[in-house]
């Protein structure tokens, strides 16, 4: 049985790891390599690392750090941040990154997704879609550059387009729910799931394992990503890297009818 992927998402800012709230107020949570070592011990399903400075400041990916992270990771690594060219995809894959994510570059240059997929295969090409619900009509819109730039694009159609261009995974990231610990935007997830057939990973809002359980029970093949949930503990948000154990994860993934206690 294919298990749902439960994915810690780490944000890199000024060389350290941070956690944001609605894409702002970055709080320092630790050293990236140290965090990877802890996540190794916890046997996480896979890891997503996003450099939130690179694209906004027009910087290329920090290959030194990414190479260290990829070598240290005993689980698959998805890296995003500052990737704009096929040559960067190539160098990151050579450094040992399994999946390369693009976001603003996919909006600015959609053909990049096709060029990368043709050379490296769809399985290594991930598009991260940052979504904000905005305006009087509460419409969903794709934002880029840490939610500082509007695109005018509607996320469901954009996700479909990215799949058609060759993306092998869509990461749906809710700007509004980032750091809120109030649960995923299941309404948006449902609309995107209906529109695309490639693997979908949901990020933004998970506040408890119940949120993850709710998602993975509803969608048998899905990635449940979270930032705050896996780096903070308790209502004062003390920094403590955590992740459900093997039996807990297996129980999360188990269909409801065979669950002894589903409450």
């Amino acid at each position: 049985m294919l298990r749902p992927r439960i994915i810690p998402c780490l944000l890199i800012h000024k060389g350290g790891l941070v956690k944001t709230v609605q894409f702002g107020a970055p709080k320092y949570v630790g050293d990236p390599l140290n965090a990877v070592r802890i996540f190794n011990e916890k046997e996480v399903d896979e890891l997503m690392v996003l450099d939130i400075d690179a694209s906004r400041l027009g910087r290329a990916p920090n290959e030194t750090l990414i190479g260290q992270l990829a070598a240290e990771c005993r689980m698959p690594l998805c890296y995003g941040g500052g990737v704009k060219t096929v040559e960067q995809f190539e160098r990151l894959i050579a450094l040992g990154v399994e999946k390369v994510a693009v976001s603003s570059a996919a909006v600015d240059d959609p053909a990049l997704v096709t060029r990368a997929a043709e050379r490296f295969g769809s399985q290594s090409v991930v598009v991260v879609i940052d979504v904000k619900i905005a305006g009087l009509l509460r419409q969903a819109e794709v934002l880029t550059l840490n939610a500082t730039r509007r695109s005018g694009l509607e996320p469901v159609a954009f996700a479909r387009k990215m799949q058609d261009l060759g993306a092998g995974e869509i990461v749906l990231n809710s700007v509004d729910r980032d750091g809120q610990l109030q649960g995923y935007d299941l309404n948006l997830v449902e609309r995107v799931r209906q529109a695309v057939s490639v693997p979908l990973t949901v990020l933004g809002g998970a506040g408890s394992l119940d949120d993850i359980r709710g998602l993975v029970r509803r969608y048998p093949v899905i990635g449940a990503a979270a930032g705050s949930l896996f780096v903070f503990k308790g209502k004062y948000r003390a920094v403590l890297i955590n992740y459900p154990g093997r039996t807990e994860r297996d129980a999360l993934a188990r269909p409801v009818e065979t669950q002894a206690d589903s409450s």
Binding site: M1, L2, R3, P4, R5, N40, E43, D45, E46, G67, A70, A71, E72, C73, R74, M75, P76, I93, A94, G96, E98, K99, E118, R119, F120, G121, S122, Q123, S124, G168, E169, S197, V198, P199, L200, V221, G223
Partner: protein, 204 residues
Amino acid sequence: MPMVTLVDYGLGNIQAFAHIYQRLNIPVEVAKTADQLAKAEKLVLPGVGAFDWAMTRLNDSGLRDTLDELVLRQRVPVLGVCVGMQMMAHRSEEGELPGLGWIDAEVLRFDPAQIGETPLPHMGWNDVRPAATDSLFRGIEAPRFYFLHSYCIAPRQPADVLATARYGSDFTAAVRSGHVFGTQFHPEKSHQWGIDLLRNFAEF
């Protein structure tokens, strides 16, 4: 214990393999040139990327002739991983270039007629059912590994199927033909299950 030589043709996570073998105290080296490769006793051929891209990188690496000599004539044990395994087949539906032909197989895309609406790529942790537990899977309980692919190897000889997994339908997750081994999944990215498998390969 024999040295494990990692074939570095610019694709795949060489350092992740190296780290694991170093932690296991198993001698390991990275071969980027034919000279470095020539004395290999065990080979790991990693890979990430599309079939033709990987074949092109390997053909242009200057390692191809030495690899063929080691595997086909000297019968040095080899473990292909992901596209590294797919390259060992005769051909792939993903590309047009011929494969290495080290194993009597071809690489096919997951068939929608068999897997239905199941999303592709197949991405994530899946259970693996070994047909034999005397080699790569020795001592590994409830094996599960990380997969990331849309194409599968299809050996022409049923006996070459070393393990299967299920994603919509059953597919070949690992192959073995004598001294030629391959895994579709990524043992270098599969925690203790993968570490145990890589140790088994080194000890084979």
